[in-house]
C-alpha cells in the first residue's frame, strides 16, 4: 500500500453555459521520502488536484468520482478526517508568502495556534517547538524573530515561516503549490534546498506543483505532466525530461529555453507531433516593401547616461529626509546600438522596469540624461524635436491581461497609434495597415472585430506586439513579455520577436528576470542589482565567464533543466 493513492479522480466545474472538466481520470501514487512534481500549463488542473486532496474545492467545483487515500484512509467526503488531517497530516505551502500569513498576528501566535490545535502541548512547550522549527527552516536568531509580525520578514523569509508552519505538526505530506514562483532566483534556490533537505530528514512525501521545468529538473524524483485535466505522462523525472513519449510532453520539454547554449529558434510541435516550421511569420514581400525597412547602421541609438531616479511620496505638508528616499536607480549608464538586442536582467526591485519607464518618458529621471540619436529625451526645450521621435520607441508589456483596453476592439487598438501619427490618413489605408500588422504577428483577420477578452494570453501578447509595431518603431522595449505565459506559448512569442527583429531591423531592449530567456534573446546583457549596474557584457562571455560576484551567483543558482541530463 502506498502512502498517498489517488484513483480515478474526476473533478468538474459546472457553470451556467458549460461544464468544465478540471481533472479527468487522474491516478497516481506518492511514497514517503519522495518528491513528486506536477507540471503543466495554466488551466491544466494542477492546483485543482492539490485542492481536492485537502478538500478545498470551491463551489461550483465538485469531485464527481474517484478516491483519495492517505495511509489507506479515504479522504473524499470524509470531512471529519480531513479536518484532523489538515495541518496535522498534510501541510500546505501556498504560492504567495505575502498573503498566506495573517498580518495581524505575530509569527509566534500563528505557529503556536497551529501546534496547539493538533498536538497536545502546553504553551511553553509549543513555544520551544516553534523556535526549534524556525531554526530548522534556517531563520537566524529565531528566539527574537518569533516575536515579529509577518511584514517584518522579507519574501523568502516569509516563505520559510510558511514552510515552518506546514511542518509544525510533523505532517507526512507537504503540498507546495508554486512555492517559489513569487520569489527571486537566489531565494528560490534556498527554499527548494530546504524542501529537499526536509524530505530526507523527516521522511516526508512532498508534492510540488509548478510550471517551471528547471525547478522540476532540480528537485523532483518523479514527475506528472498534465494537460486539460488529464495526466499525459508520468514517470521518473530524468526519463520524462530526456526521453518524453507523448507529443504534449515533447513540446513542453522542447520549448524550455536551454540555459547552457544559445539556439537560433525554438522548435515547435504540432498537436499531431509533426514539427512546426516557421509559421509565426507570414511576411509577404509586399508588406515588407510597404514597411520600408531601415538599413542597420550599427551606430549608437540610445545612450543612457548616469541616470539616477528617486521616488518620493508627494505630500503637501512635509518632504522626506534625504536618506529616507528610495533610490530606484543609482547612476546607471549603458548604450544600445542600432540593430542589436540588448538585455537587462535583475531580480525584483533592481530597477529594470524603471529604466523602461524612463526611456519611454513615463517617468522623469531625477538626475542624468537619456539620448536617442543624440536627442535628449527629457530636455523640456526639445519638445518639438521630441515629438518627431515619438513613436520610434515603443513597448510591449508584461501583463497581457491589462495591457489592452477591454472596451476596444482589436481593430481599434491597433488603429489608434496609426491614426495618431498620420493625422490625415484615410480609412482605407488605416485598414490596410491594420491588416498588414495582424498578418505580421501571425493572427487571423477575423480577430480584428473581436474584443481582447476573447483571446488567450499569448494571442493578446501578439496583439500587443502589433500595436507596438504600428508606429514603425526603431527601438522596441520588451518588459518581461513572456513571464505571464506558458512555456510553449513563450517559445512562440520569442520566435516571433526574433523573426520580427530579423525582418524589420528592429533594435530590441529585452527586460527579464529569466536568465535562460535572456540568453536566447540577447547579444549583450546588463546585470542590475538594487538600482546599480553590476556588469555589462556580451551574452556568451557573461554566461561562460561572469566577472561580477553577483552575476556568478545568479548563473550558479538558476534552476537548470540540463542539471538532470
Amino acid at each position: 500500500m502506498s502512502f498517498l493513492e489517488i484513483k480515478n479522480l474526476n473533478i468538474s466545474y459546472a457553470t451556467r453555459k458549460e461544464t468544465i472538466v478540471a481533472s479527468k481520470d487522474v491516478e497516481f501514487i506518492l511514497e514517503r521520502g519522495e518528491i513528486l512534481g506536477i507540471v503543466g500549463e495554466s488551466g491544466s488542473g494542477k492546483s485543482t488536484i492539490a485542492n481536492a486532496i485537502i478538500n478545498l474545492i470551491d463551489p461550483p467545483g465538485e469531485i464527481t468520482d474517484g478516491s483519495i487515500k492517505i495511509d489507506g484512509n479515504e479522504l473524499r467526503n470524509n470531512e471529519e478526517f480531513i479536518q484532523k488531517s489538515r495541518g496535522k497530516k498534510i501541510g500546505f505551502v501556498f504560492q504567495d508568502p505575502q498573503t498566506s500569513l495573517n498580518p495581524l498576528f505575530k509569527i509566534k501566535d500563528q505557529l503556536i495556534e497551529t501546534i496547539q490545535t493538533h498536538l497536545n502541548l502546553n504553551y511553553q512547550d509549543s513555544l520551544e517547538r516553534s523556535i526549534q522549527l524556525l531554526k530548522e527552516v534556517g531563520i537566524e536568531n529565531a528566539e527574537q524573530r518569533i516575536e515579529d509580525y509577518p511584514h517584518q520578514f522579507s519574501g523568502g523569509m516569509r516563505q520559510r515561516v510558511v514552510i515552518a508552519l506546514a511542518i509544525s505538526c510533523e505532517p507526512d505530506l507537504i503540498i507546495a503549490d508554486e512555492p517559489t514562483t513569487a520569489l527571486d532566483v537566489s531565494i528560490q534556490h534556498q527554499i527548494l534546498k530546504l524542501l529537499k533537505h526536509l524530505t530526507v530528514k523527516r521522511n516526508l512525501a512532498v508534492m510540488i506543483i509548478t510550471h517551471d521545468m528547471g525547478v522540476i529538473a532540480e528537485t523532483t524524483d518523479r514527475v506528472i505532466v498534465m494537460r486539460y485535466g488529464k495526466i499525459v505522462e508520468q514517470g521518473k523525472t530524468q526519463d520524462i525530461l530526456t526521453n518524453p513519449q507523448s507529443n504534449e510532453c515533447k513540446s513542453l520539454v522542447m520549448s524550455v529555453p536551454p540555459t547552457n547554449k544559445k539556439i537560433d529558434r525554438f522548435k515547435l510541435l504540432n498537436p499531431d507531433g509533426g514539427e512546426l516550421s516557421d509559421s509565426s511569420l507570414n511576411l509577404t514581400n509586399s508588406i515588407i516593401k510597404n514597411w520600408a525597412v531601415r538599413d542597420i547602421s550599427h551606430e549608437k541609438l540610445l545612450d543612457f547616461k548616469n541616470v539616477t531616479k528617486i521616488f518620493d511620496e508627494q505630500s503637501i505638508v512635509m518632504s522626506k529626509k534625504e536618506n529616507d528616499k528610495l533610490k530606484a536607480l543609482d547612476d546607471v549608464s549603458f548604450e544600445i546600438y542600432e540593430g542589436e538586442s540588448f538585455g537587462l536582467v535583475g531580480e525584483s526591485g533592481s530597477g529594470k522596469s524603471t529604466i523602461a519607464k524612463i526611456i519611454t518618458n513615463l517617468v522623469k529621471p531625477t538626475a542624468g540624461e537619456v539620448f536617442f540619436e543624440n536627442i535628449s529625451l527629457h530636455d523640456p526645450k526639445n519638445k518639438k524635436i521630441k515629438n518627431k521621435y515619438r513613436g520610434q520607441i515603443q513597448m510591449i508589456f508584461q501583463d497581457p491581461y491589462s495591457s489592452l483596453n477591454p472596451r476596444f476592439k482589436v481593430k481599434d487598438i491597433i488603429a489608434e497609434p496609426i491614426k495618431f501619427f498620420q493625422r490625415n490618413i484615410n480609412s482605407a489605408d488605416v485598414d490596410k495597415n491594420v491588416n498588414d500588422l495582424i498578418d505580421i504577428v501571425g493572427m487571423t483577420r477575423q480577430s480584428l472585430d473581436r474584443y481582447p477578452h476573447e483571446f488567450s494570453g499569448g494571442q493578446r501578447q501578439r496583439i500587443s506586439i502589433a500595436r507596438a509595431l504600428a508606429t514603425r518603431p526603431r527601438l522596441l522595449i520588451c518588459d518581461e513579455p513572456t513571464s505571464a505565459l506558458d512555456v510553449s506559448i513563450q517559445a512562440q512569442v520569442l520566435n516571433l520577436l526574433k523573426d520580427l527583429q530579423d525582418e524589420l531591423n528592429l533594435t530590441i531592449l529585452f527586460i527579464s528576470h529569466d536568465l535562460p530567456v535572456i540568453r536566447q534573446m540577447c547579444e549583450r546583457i546588463t546585470v542590475l542589482k538594487n538600482g546599480k549596474v553590476c556588469e555589462v557584457n556580451d551574452t556568451e562571455n557573461l554566461f561562460n565567464n561572469p566577472t561580477h560576484e553577483y552575476t556568478k551567483e545568479l548563473i550558479h543558482l538558476m534552476p537548470k533543466i540540463e542539471s538532470i541530463l
Binding site: Q394, D399, N405
Partner: protein, 307 residues
Amino acid sequence: MIKKTFNKIYDTDIGYSFFNSKIAIISSSIFFIIFLCSFFAGLVAPYNPFDPASVSLMDAFTPPIWSEGGNSSFFLGTDQQGRDMFSTMIYGSRISLIVGFASIIFAMILGVFLGVTAGYIGGRYEIIVMRITDVQLTIPTILMALLVDGIARAIISRSMHDEMAIYVLIFAIGISEWPQFARVTRASTLVEKNKEYVSASRIIGLSNVLIMFKHILPNILRPILVIATIGLALAIITESTLSFLGVGVPPTTPSLGTLIRFGNNFLFSGEWWITFFPAIFLVVLALSINLLGDWMRDALNPKLKKR
C-alpha cells in the same frame, strides 16, 4: 428577431442575473410603469389638475372610491381644491422625476469630471479636490441644499423666483451629491491608471484628455452607474423633503413632496388620503429604484458573481 435579441441579452452575465432575480424584475417594472405614466401624464391622468376649468371646489375633500361618500369619478379622492388625487400624483411624480434625473446627471457630470481628473493628474490638484469632497461630505445633504436654496432666494428677484425654483432645486441637489461620484470615480481611476494599457497609450503619445475620457472612463462606468441609480432615489427623496419644507418647487406645480405637505395639514381632520397616497407613491418609487440599484451593485460586482 425579438426572440433572438432577447436570447442575446439573456446570454450575457448581466442579462442572466437580471432575468433570474425577482427583485430586479419587479422593481424595474414598477419603476418603468411609474416612469411611463409620468412621461405620458397627459394621456394617463384622467384630469389635468393644473387646468382651472377642470377643477371644481365643489368636489373638494372627496374620499377615495371605496370609502363612504366616495365618488366614482375620483378614484383616489380629491384634495382641498377639488383636484383629483390620482392625476395630481401622476403630474407630481413627473416633477419629482425630472428634478431627480436632472440633478443626478448634473452631479454625475461634475463628480465624474473632477474624480477622473483628480485620479489621473494627481498631485496638488488631487489633494485639493479630494479635501473639498471631504469637507462637503461633513455637511448633510439637506443642509447643503437648504443653503444653496437660501442663497439663490437672496440673489434671484422675487418675480423670477417661481420660474427659477426648479433650476435652483436641481443645482442644490446636484451640488450636494457630486462628492460621492468624485470619490468613487477617483478610486476607480487610480486602479485603471496603473494598468498597462494606459501606459501604452501614453507611450504612443495620446493627450491626457483623450486617455482620461476615451480610455479610462469607459472602463469605470460600472461603479458610476450603481452610484447614479442609488443616487437617483436619494435625489428624489431630497427633492420631496425640500418641497415638504416649503423651499422646493412652487405650489402651482406641485411635486410629490409638495402634495404631502398640503395633505399633512388635513391629516388629523380625517382627510388622510390627501397625504397618504402621495407618501406611499413616493415610498414605492424610491424603494423600487433603490432595490434596482442594490441588484445592480451585486450583479456588476465580479466578486459576488454566482457562476
